[in-house]
């Protein structure tokens, strides 16, 4: 299967992903916290952007990976892809939670409130709830095949939230600022853009590295449980044999 070959090839470079993530994040932290200038309006608080925006981008990327993986699973019924989707959902939930938390910290000094039912914030919270629902669904169903199928359907249904998150700042009047980097161009200076890109690349590499580790973890866990179960049933069979 082509997807197995791709996963195996990518996993060979796992160390490179981890090292690359560490380098990019260290460089991004230096440029973001020390090298970049403060913003004219927000002052030093703008530095929160270098952690908040990469976390948010990565969480959206995680959801896209989850949706594509779920579609692939429903088409090919490939358990390895399902395993990867399960890993992505947990990581996506963590990145989404952290992006929300850092956003709230940024909101307090700039908007004078920790939280507001703004279109972007609300639609983004809905994504977190979908991911939590996905993980809960996988916990509650005993049949692994049904569990994977239902979870994939939920992930695909949740995909409708992604364009709402993306365009919410254009469709509605929101407190959240519009995109600074879009197809129409870049509206921020290079002094701010470089650390932002550095951190975004670093976070994406970190997410990929964490995904590889988590996929391995889930695979080994399932392998161990399956083998233990088989050994146990063999043991019982031998005991009951006359």
């Amino acid at each position: 299967m082509i997807i197995h070959r791709v996963i195996r090839k990518v996993q060979r470079f796992q160390g490179w992903f981890g090292g690359g993530a560490a380098l990019c994040i260290i460089a991004g932290l230096y440029l973001g916290l020390i090298g970049s200038p403060p913003d004219y309006y927000q002052g030093e608080v703008v530095r929160i952007m270098y952690i908040h925006v990469p976390l948010a981008h990565t969480s959206l990327f995680a959801y896209i990976v989850l949706s594509i993986g779920s579609m692939w699973y429903l088409w090919k019924r490939d358990p390895i892809v399902d395993n990867m989707c399960h890993a992505v959902a947990a990581l996506g939930a963590i990145f989404t939670t952290l992006a929300l938390a850092t956003g709230m910290i940024w909101g307090k000094p700039t908007w004078n409130t920790w939280w507001t039912w703004d279109a972007r914030l609300t639609s983004y919270t809905v994504m977190l709830l979908i991911l939590i629902g996905y993980l809960m669904l996988r916990t509650f169903i005993d049949d692994p095949e049904k569990e994977a199928r239902y979870a994939a359907v939920l992930a695909i249904l949740g995909l409708v939230d992604l364009p709402i998150i993306h365009f919410s700042v254009e469709w509605w009047r929101t407190l959240h600022q519009p995109q600074s980097i879009s197809m129409r161009g870049v509206s921020i200076s290079s002094g701010i853009l470089v650390p932002l890109l550095c951190m975004s690349i670093g976070m994406t590499l970190l997410f990929s590295y964490m995904l590889m580790v988590r996929t391995q973890l889930l695979y080994l866990d399932r392998l161990l449980h399956a083998k233990k179960g088989r050994l146990l049933s063999q043991f019982h069979m031998s005991k009951t044999d006359p």
């Binding site: 002052g43 929160i48 952690i51 952290l98 938390a101 161990l224 083998k227």
Partner: protein, 161 residues
Amino acid sequence: MTSLYIRWGGLLIVAMVLTGLTYSHYQQHLATLSPKQVNEQNPSQEVRVLGMVRGGTLKGNVAGGDATFALVENNTTIPVHYHGPPPDNLRELKTLILIGKWNSSDNVFEARDIGLVTNYGFVVGAYLIGLIPLGIFLFAMSRRVGLLYEEIKASKLYQEE
């Protein structure tokens, strides 16, 4: 498992060094003194002083960038002579940061620039909340993978049944 702990130990040392460097940068370039500390320490080098412009003391050509006023914080006041670029935010009862030198012979703070009050607590909080859980989660996952490998090896579950 030993290599895992060595790798993470190295990463922790790098993180501690970076934290130390950032803290020393903050102390050297961004930390502020209060008017009371300026009075007590008589600093000879350029410093940043945080305080509020006392009401009724702002005089001179503010729009032209040459003014005198009193800076107050916790009942301690120091006289200030500002001479620098025309300020956007110099007005009475405004809390701000003054960058300049303390003239100990005249007991006047000679400010050359004005900065906005910074909220470093929010910045530090956001970075710690953003990065520490990721690090802990990654460490826990890597450790669990190592433990699972060891368990599989020890129980010979990978062999043919």
